[in-house]
Amino acid sequence: MTTVLEGAPAGLVAVDVQAAAVQFLVDEELYPLPAIYGAAYVFIDRCYVFLDRPEPARVRVVLTAKSGAAEPEALRALIGEFANELLSCAFRHQIAQDNRVLIETATMQALAGAMGQPSLDDLAKFDFSDQGFDDPLGIAMSWEEKHGRKAPKSESEGGP
């Protein structure tokens, strides 16, 4: 049976002591989905985490203690920790967008510097068949492919 927790926003947080579970109704306008995923993921070592969408723009997060039993105090702590983690993830999501260039530049320099130049063996082992390469800016395309004159359709058809 779910009950409302004293001090928690009405309608947004509920506790089921018997099931050792807490649930939150999270507003997607305040907390973007990547932040909800990020916060939920942090708890999967301790809890069973389930998400659903009972109404538009609202995500319900249910955290159930894996142990199957939890004191009300532990559930209260879980609520607090999830709320803090959610805020932290939402804020980080925004900061990562704001400082994307700064973070990417530092990461690229650090990793390229640490890995050093590839050896001939490294180059020989490179997997060119990997299709996971995403190239939205067309960096991997040749200049001719990207800017060159398109071949007339008729010429390419029926060729050898």
């Binding site: 990547p34 995923y37 993921y41 999967i44 069973y48 985490v49 389930f50 998400l51 969408r53």
Partner: protein, 75 residues
């Protein structure tokens, strides 16, 4: 009485392949049926050992969430 359980994974929140893979990972522990509705990936299962139902339900949910996060979300 059969010990039948149902989990509805919202298609806006869970990646379909993640749910599929999670079901495959736990196939040894239950018999599963999958259904796709406009809103949800529906997973119905009967655990081989009824005592494991709660755990199976929870682990399946975590597995599907973990794989969804790994894929960068539901889309």
């Amino acid at each position: 009485m059969t010990d039948r359980h149902e989990l509805r994974f919202s298609r806006r929140l869970y990646h379909g392949e993640a749910v599929d893979q999670a079901v495959k990972a736990f196939a040894r522990f239950a018999s599963f049926d999958l259904e796709q509705t406009d809103d949800d990936w529906v997973v119905r299962f009967t655990p081989n050992d009824p005592a494991l139902a709660r755990r199976l339900r929870g682990e399946l949910g975590n597995h599907a969430l973990g794989l969804t996060v790994q894929r960068g979300g539901a889309k």
